[in-house]
């Protein structure tokens, strides 16, 4: 499989995907866990 970081497009898409994943992690597991 090609490394997405080898292209600018792959890098940017990876950044947005990571943003969505981290957003839900922070919202559902970190902020919500603290009540």
């Amino acid at each position: 499989m090609k490394n997405p970081l080898d292209s600018i497009t792959g890098t940017i898409i990876s950044g947005f995907v990571l943003t969505i994943i981290l957003y839900f992690v922070v919202k559902n597991f970190l902020v919500a866990a603290a009540g």
Binding site: N3, L5, T11, I12, G15, L18, L22, Y23, L30, G35
Partner: protein, 163 residues
């Protein structure tokens, strides 16, 4: 003027310098190097532009981190942010991403770029290996800058998004 406002102002200015140069490297300089090498003009970039851009880049990265860290400290949430605790978790996630990016700048990008640019001696094989490491670290930072900027904006100003 409030010292905290000055600190935040400096944080934003240094951040613009850092990430602006990061995007310059990734979106402009690296893609242009192939053509510059082909027509014999790459030396101008590697000798005159890249070292100067890297100077501003690495020190802006450090100033960004220090002013951000100071800000969290003055708010009394430095520990909670880095422990990703409760309401400080969103800005803490931004702070961690920024910290990883600072590490990449000083530990991976700059030492390897010194070899690529000939600032320190290296064989052609070492230069090729260093170039690959520096590129991937730089691309990693470009990727991380996207969620980092989101959490920097959403952390202090978008609490409703996380409730």
């Amino acid at each position: 003027m409030d010292l905290l406002v000055l600190d935040r102002w400096l944080h934003v200015m240094a951040g613009i310098t850092w990430i602006g140069l990061l995007y310059y490297f990734n979106f402009v300089q690296v893609p242009a190097m192939g053509q510059a090498k082909a027509d014999g003009t790459a030396a101008g970039i590697t000798k005159h532009i890249a070292p100067r851009a890297l100077l501003w880049f690495r020190w802006a990265a450090l100033v960004t981190w220090l002013t951000g860290s100071y800000y969290l400290g003055k708010l009394g949430i430095w520990g909670d942010a880095f422990m990703l605790k409760g309401a400080a978790a969103p800005i803490g996630m931004g702070a961690w991403l920024g910290t990883i990016m600072l590490f990449n700048v000083w530990v991976l990008i700059w030492p390897n770029q010194k070899k690529v640019l000939g600032i320190v001696q290296a064989s052609d094989e070492e230069k090729a290996k260093s170039g690959r490491i520096a590129l991937l670290a730089s691309r990693t930072n470009t990727m991380l800058s996207i969620p980092m900027a989101f959490f920097m904006v959403a952390g202090p100003h978008g609490a409703a998004m996380f409730s």
